[in-house]
């Protein structure tokens, strides 16, 4: 199904590259993140780098290379919006990312976002996969990614069919390669 995917500039490369997070802590987020990552700069509750770290974690939980970061950012946006104006809810998100960074520093000597290999990042997540913060992200992603109609064509899923008359005349039995196996 990859042929359906539109190859776009990978925003996470921009996010992750060149020690950007270090700079992010001392410079206005909008400047560092750049126009492609405006969604992180518009964070309502959490710090932009917290937002960006969560986007990376979400991608690492359900990594689909043909999905650009906006699909994951949409899920993080849900958390961020819900936490806006709520200090406790914001702290849950900030503390969650802080715990990720602490574990990443302890195991690999760098913050989560600065770990270049997915395996290093997922080993950090694996150790915290029973934590409520991780489960909150994973749970939201199950519907945030796979129940998002915008991703369905990329997975070869066609969604609703009743209004089109079902598949009785649209290929319910069109498999043509079985005689070759």
């Amino acid at each position: 199904m990859q042929q359906h995917a539109t190859k776009k500039l990978s925003r996470r490369d921009v996010l992750r590259g060149g020690g950007g997070l270090v700079a992010m802590t001392v410079m206005p987020a909008g400047l560092i993140l750049g126009a492609n990552n405006a969604w992180a700069a518009t964070a309502k509750a959490v710090k932009p780098e917290t937002f960006a770290s969560m986007v990376q974690a979400c991608r690492d939980i359900y990594p689909h290379d043909f999905l650009d970061d906006s699909f994951y950012a949409k899920v993080v946006e849900g958390f961020d919006s819900a936490a806006a104006g709520d200090a406790d809810a914001t702290a849950v998100l900030e503390n969650g990312v802080a715990a990720m960074n602490k574990a990443a520093q302890s195991a690999h000597g760098a913050d989560y976002m600065d770990l270049g290999w997915e395996d290093d990042r997922t080993s950090v997540l694996r150790a915290m996969q029973d934590d409520p913060f991780f489960q909150k992200m994973r749970g939201a992603l199950v519907t945030g990614i796979y129940a998002n109609p915008d991703v369905w064509p990329l997975f070869g899923y066609e969604g609703e069919s009743a209004s089109k008359g079902g598949y009785i005349n649209r290929g319910f039995d069109d498999i043509d390669w079985l005689d070759q196996v």
């Binding site: 359900y62 694996r126 519907t143 796979y146 899923y157 079902g166």
Partner: protein, 523 residues
């Protein structure tokens, strides 16, 4: 026209629940001239309300009231608050069922006799056999329009079936076809034929699939002898000083507590709610709940040995197109202990849409192993494995010690531990399911753990002797002569087959018995 009965009319039969058991029973009684009230906890959602939207329909029709879980079954870990995936709506789980309509086999009615002693299993022979039930199976199949019976052709095979069939042929399986399905393969009974929409679990948009919601209940209502009250949650079965049921207390759709008097009460709320209702019906005469002198109410909970195998191929399958479960391999549904377990299992085609696949392929799973499997969705085939699980007295529905529902009644806890026989059977089924797909070139196969239970059985088991179970062979409780149970909770043992056809056959037979007993003034 729809009837309207008075709350104080103590001549009516009250049926609690409107699914395969209650909906069929209520309609059949009405057609026999028996004035009947069905009380259904859920709302009435007609075909026009159905959507091809997995989570949307899940939210609209599922039974989502609070329940708790315990035991070593994986469902308790993956779906702690959702032990069962059943429907709270008029039509009950016949709204979302897949349509597979199989008869229980002769040997499965007599497992204690045929399987012998199985350590830890509370096996018992049913107090009836296949010969006794056959005329009722005939009637149920005709009523439901089951394919491959009554001259009704099988459904055409979709892509998912074609993969299964090719694999079955390579493995030498002999019994593989598009199933015995209560889904019209041609127009019948005023309903059209299947349009291969998919989304059988979200409510059939054409009504080609049999459901009590739009097949049985309207026929019952048309007689003028049936009233269906939706949004009516029954709290308690009431009784008199002689220990006979007098009616039920319920909360109506406006939140008001009512009592409907009755001559006969039939409980058909599924294997979790039915025992819960009996257990909640405590009194000084029945301190452990009504009809529970055996202590068996809620015990021997069964949910079938289940699991799924999904497989990825290097070319497209589009398994979700067409009838969800019109495909079956029956060769393993035999009792052959050389496989290392008693009883057998069916292999049935199954597909989930992408939204549900994300939730159920490997609950809790994440990372590239999981996501790469999801990326194979377009090239994926799938089957469900469903087999006989062992009744165990410790597997049970009980009343929670502290958690209460919105009406102040204890919520049910569902405890289930897998029996070693269940585990051995599941492992065998996973292996054979994968072999079917490997035979036609699968590049990866996935053993998917059980979903929340759709086949809930056994918690008011049918028994010859009163001390062994809750109801007799008519579904009549051993303790209270005018109190019946009319759903899958009466199953003495679970058998390998999807239970709906048997529930319907038993309900038709029970309706005949009740009508006859009423006319003889025995009830």
């Amino acid at each position: 026209m729809t009837a309207k009965f008075d709350l104080n009319d103590d001549t009516v039969v009250v049926v609690v629940g409107s699914g395969a058991g209650g909906g069929t029973l209520g309609a059949e009684l009405a057609m026999k001239g028996v004035r009947t009230v069905i009380l259904e906890a859920g709302g009435r959602h007609e075909i026009a309300d159905f959507n091809n939207d997995e989570w949307g329909m899940f939210g609209q029709i599922s039974w989502l009231d609070k329940r708790t879980t315990s035991g070593d079954w994986r469902v308790a870990k993956d779906f702690a608050g959702l032990p069962a995936w059943i429907v709270k709506a008029v039509g009950g789980s016949t709204v979302h069922w897949a349509g597979a309509s199989l008869r229980i086999q002769e040997h499965e009615f007599k497992t204690k006799t045929n399987y012998g002693e199985v350590a830890g299993a509370n096996l018992l022979d049913w107090p009836l056999d296949l010969a006794e039930l056959e005329p009722w199976y005939d009637k149920a199949e005709d009523r439901m329009g089951v394919t491959r019976t009554n001259g009704i052709p099988g459904l055409p095979g979709n892509n998912n079936f074609k993969i299964m069939k090719a694999g079955a042929d390579k493995l030498g399986y002999k019994e593989c076809h598009t199933g015995r399905m209560a889904i019209n393969s041609q127009p019948r009974d005023g309903r059209g034929s299947c349009q291969q929409i998919g989304f059988c679990f979200q409510g059939c948009k054409t009504g080609a699939k049999w459901s009590t919601l739009y097949v049985e209940i309207p026929k019952g209502e048309k007689t003028g002898n049936l009233e269906v009250r939706s949004g009516a949650q029954v709290l308690k079965v009431e009784h008199d000083a002689n220990g006979k049921a007098t009616g039920v207390m319920y909360v109506d759709q406006d939140g008001n507590t009512q009592v409907q008097k009755a001559r006969v009460v039939c409980v058909a709320g599924n294997s979790i709610e039915s025992p819960r209702l009996l257990l909640n019906s405590q009194s000084s005469m029945f301190p452990d709940g009504i009809a529970n002198s055996s202590g068996m109410v809620g015990k021997n909970y069964m949910r079938h040995m289940t699991g799924s195998v999904y497989a990825i191929f290097d070319k497209p399958v589009h398994m979700y197109r067409g009838t969800t479960m019109a495909g079956i391999i029956q060769d393993e549904a035999v009792h052959d202990t050389s496989r290392g377990f008693v009883g057998g299992y069916e292999m049935e085609t199954l597909s989930l849409g992408l939204p549900f696949m994300g939730a159920f392929l490997d609950p809790g799973g994440w990372g590239r192993s999981f996501s790469s499997a999801m990326e194979g969705y377009e090239n994926m085939a799938g089957m469900w494995l469903v087999g006989e699980d062992m009744p165990q007295e410790t597997n049970r529905i009980s009343l929670h010690a502290s958690e209460k529902d919105q009406h102040g009644l204890p919520v049910p806890n569902v405890h289930f531990d897998d029996h070693p026989n269940d585990i051995a059977m599941r492992n065998h089924a996973f292996q054979q399911g994968a072999a079917v797909y490997d035979a036609v070139g699968a590049t990866r196969t996935f053993p998917t753990p059980p979903y929340p239970s759709t086949h809930n059985l056994g918690t008011n088991r049918m028994s010859d002797k009163a001390q062994d179970g809750v109801v007799n062979k008519w579904g009549q409780t051993h303790d209270v002569s005018n109190l019946f149970v009319s759903d899958g909770s009466v199953f003495t043992t679970g058998a390998a087959e999807n239970p709906t056809l048997t529930i319907v056959a038993l309900a038709l037979r029970q309706a005949d018995h009740i009508a006859s007993e009423l006319s003889k003034q025995n009830l």
